[in-house]
C-alpha cells in the first residue's frame, strides 16, 4: 500500500485541527462572552469591592488568572468535547483516517490559545483599572509559564474525563460548573484559604485550582513576604509541581479509560 507513506502526519493534522477549532470557537458569541471575557468582567466587579490597596490587587489578579484558565480548560474543553459528541463531530472524525491523537492536539491548541487570550484580557483590565504590575523577573515569568502549562493540561484532561459522564451539553454545564464554582471558594480565589475551616481547606487542596492560584500569587506578589498569607505560610512551588503533575497523569489515565466517541454504547 503506497498510501501509508502519503497519509498526512499526526502532528500536522493536529495543528490543522487546532486552527479549525479556533476558527469555530471564536465565531461563537457565547464562547467570547462566557469563556474568554467573564473572568475579566469578574475581576472588574469583584476587584472594585475587594481591592483597596495595590498588594491586594496583585494577589486578586493572580487568583483570577488561575480561576480563568481553569474555566477555559476544565469547563471550556469539557463542554467542547461533549458538544463534539452531541453534534456528530466525533462520530464523523472516527470515520476518517485522522488519528485520535490529532484530535487531542487540536483541543490542546484550542485550550492554550483561548486561555492565553482570556489571561491577557484579564491582565489588561487589572493593569488599567487596578494598576496591577506584571512580574518583573525572568524567573517569575518562568514560574508563570510552567504553572500555566501544567494547570491547563491537567485541568483539560480532567475536564475531558468528566465529559464522558455528561450525556448532553445541558447536562455537562452542571457536571462541570458545579465543581468549578465550589472549588473557587475552597481554593483561595474569592476567600483566603487561611480563613477556611480545616476540612474545607484540605478538600480544596486536593484539587489543581488551589495550586495554580498559589503559583500565580507567587509570581504576582509584590515581594516574597506575602507568602505568609498562604495556608502553609510559603509558596510551596515544589509541591505545586508535584500536585499538578500527579493530576496530569491521573487525568491521562482517566481519559484513556473513559473516552467515548458517541453517546450510544458499543
Amino acid at each position: 500500500m503506497t498510501a501509508v507513506a502519503t497519509l498526512p502526519g499526526t502532528f500536522s493534522l493536529g495543528l490543522s485541527r487546532g486552527a479549525t477549532e479556533l476558527r469555530e470557537f471564536f465565531r461563537q458569541k457565547e464562547n467570547l462572552i462566557f469563556t474568554v471575557s467573564l473572568p475579566a468582567i469578574l475581576m472588574l466587579l469583584l476587584g472594585t469591592v475587594y481591592v483597596k490597596e495595590p498588594a491586594a490587587g496583585q494577589m486578586f489578579a493572580a487568583s483570577m488568572i488561575g480561576a480563568g484558565i481553569i474555566s477555559t480548560s476544565f469547563v471550556g474543553l469539557g463542554m467542547s468535547v461533549v458538544a463534539d459528541r452531541e453534534d456528530g463531530t466525533l462520530k464523523r472524525l472516527r470515520g476518517t483516517p485522522m488519528p485520535f491523537t490529532s484530535y487531542f492536539i487540536g483541543k490542546i491548541v484550542l485550550v492554550f490559545v483561548s486561555s492565553l487570550v482570556e489571561a491577557v484580557l484579564l491582565m489588561a483590565v487589572a493593569m488599567l483599572r487596578f494598576d496591577v504590575e506584571l512580574p518583573s523577573t525572568a524567573q517569575k515569568w518562568f514560574t508563570f509559564g510552567w504553572v500555566f502549562v501544567l494547570g491547563v493540561i491537567s485541568c483539560s484532561l480532567i475536564g475531558v474525563a468528566l465529559s464522558s459522564i455528561a450525556k448532553s451539553t445541558r447536562n455537562a454545564a452542571g457536571v462541570l460548573n458545579l465543581p468549578y464554582i465550589v472549588l473557587q471558594f475552597l481554593s483561595g480565589v474569592f476567600i483566603s484559604q487561611a480563613v477556611l475551616p480545616e476540612s474545607l481547606r484540605v478538600t480544596g487542596s486536593l484539587f489543581p485550582l488551589k495550586w495554580v492560584c498559589q503559583g500565580f500569587r507567587s509570581v504576582f506578589a509584590l515581594d516574597d513576604g506575602y507568602a505568609v498569607m498562604e495556608a502553609a505560610g510559603s509558596w510551596e512551588l515544589g509541591k505545586i509541581a508535584l500536585v499538578l503533575g500527579a493530576w496530569t497523569i491521573a487525568g491521562l489515565l482517566l481519559v484513556t479509560r473513559t473516552f467515548r466517541w458517541s453517546n450510544t454504547t458499543s
Partner: protein, 274 residues
C-alpha cells in the same frame, strides 16, 4: 474480490439479539440497498461494517480487511455519510470540505466536490445556516472528499422534500457511475428501486430476502392483476397470463381504464416483513 463479505454475523445488546446471523456479499462497483423496518438491525450491521461497533460472532471482510482490526489506510478508502450530524455549524461549506480533505492522501478537489453535490452557491455560507437537504449534501461532500472506494449511506434522504430527493438520487447515481461501491440503508422502497442494483431485506436481525429490486421474492413472476371498468363497476382478475386475459376480454370491445399491475416492491416488502 467482493467489496463486502459477511458470514454468520451476530450482535446482541443486553439480551436482545440485534443481528442474528447475517450473510452478505456486495460486489465492487455495486449499489446495494439494505431495507428493513426500524429495529431490524440495519444500523448495527452497517456500524459493524464501518468498524464503529464490535461483533459477537461471524466473519466480516470490508475491502479485504476485518473492520475490527483495520487501520488508517483502510479507513482512508471508505466514505461514511452520517445520518443526522449538525457538526461544523460555524464553518463555511468551503472551509469544512477543505479541512476534511486534509485527512486523506489523495483527496478530491474541494471546489469540485462542492460543485458535484450542488452547493457551489452555498460555498461561503456557514454549515449551520443550510437547509436540511443542503446539510445532507454537505455530509455527502465530506463523505466522498477522500476519493473512497466504498461509501456507506445510512438513510440519506430521511426528511427530504421530493425534489431534494430526486437531486440526491442523481448525485448517488453519478458516484456509482464512477465505479464507487455504495451500501445504502433506506426506508423508502422507491429509493431502493431507483438506485440499487441489488437489495436485501433485513427483519428481526436476519436477511429474509435478497435479489434485484425487479425480481425480489419472485416479484417478476408473481401473478398480475388485470383491472378495468365495466357497467357493473371495477373488475379485477389475478392471472399468470395477463395477455391472454386481455385478448379474451377485448373481443367484446374497448375496456375502460384498463391496467395490468404486478406487486410493487412495497407490496413484496410488506409481505416479507409481516
Amino acid at each position: 474480490m467482493n467489496a463486502i463479505r459477511v458470514r454468520g454475523l451476530k450482535k446482541a445488546y443486553k439480551g436482545h439479539q440485534a443481528v442474528a446471523g447475517v450473510d452478505l456479499d456486495v460486489a465492487r462497483g455495486e449499489v446495494f440497498a439494505v431495507l428493513g423496518p426500524n429495529g431490524a438491525g440495519k444500523t448495527t450491521t452497517v456500524e459493524i461494517l464501518e468498524g464503529h461497533r464490535g461483533r459477537d460472532a461471524g466473519e466480516v471482510s470490508v475491502l479485504g480487511d476485518d473492520p475490527a482490526r483495520a487501520g488508517r489506510v483502510w479507513r482512508s478508502r471508505l466514505g461514511i455519510v452520517l445520518q443526522s450530524a449538525s457538526d461544523a455549524a460555524n464553518l463555511t461549506v468551503h472551509e469544512a470540505v477543505r479541512h476534511y480533505a486534509k485527512y486523506y492522501a489523495d483527496p478530491r478537489d474541494p471546489d469540485e466536490v462542492i460543485e458535484l453535490v450542488g452547493l457551489a452557491e452555498k460555498a461561503k455560507s456557514r454549515a449551520g445556516t443550510l437547509s436540511g437537504g443542503q446539510r445532507r449534501r454537505l455530509d455527502v461532500a465530506l463523505g466522498i472528499i477522500g476519493r473512497p472506494e466504498l461509501v456507506f449511506l445510512d438513510e440519506p434522504t430521511t426528511g427530504f422534500d421530493p425534489e431534494a430527493r430526486r437531486h440526491f438520487w442523481g448525485l448517488i447515481k453519478s458516484l456509482a457511475a464512477e465505479g464507487t461501491t455504495i451500501l445504502l440503508t433506506t426506508h423508502y422502497l422507491d429509493e431502493a428501486e431507483a438506485l440499487a442494483d441489488r437489495v436485501a431485506v433485513l427483519a428481526g436481525g436476519r436477511i429474509v430476502a435478497e435479489g434485484t429490486p425487479q425480481t425480489l421474492n419472485g416479484r417478476a413472476h408473481a401473478d398480475a392483476t388485470v383491472r378495468w371498468l365495466s357497467d357493473r363497476g371495477y373488475q379485477e382478475v389475478r392471472t399468470s397470463e395477463p395477455t391472454k386475459v386481455i385478448a379474451e376480454l377485448s373481443r367484446h370491445g374497448e375496456l375502460a381504464e384498463l391496467t395490468v399491475t404486478r406487486p410493487s416492491l412495497e407490496d413484496v416488502y410488506l409481505e416479507l416483513i409481516a
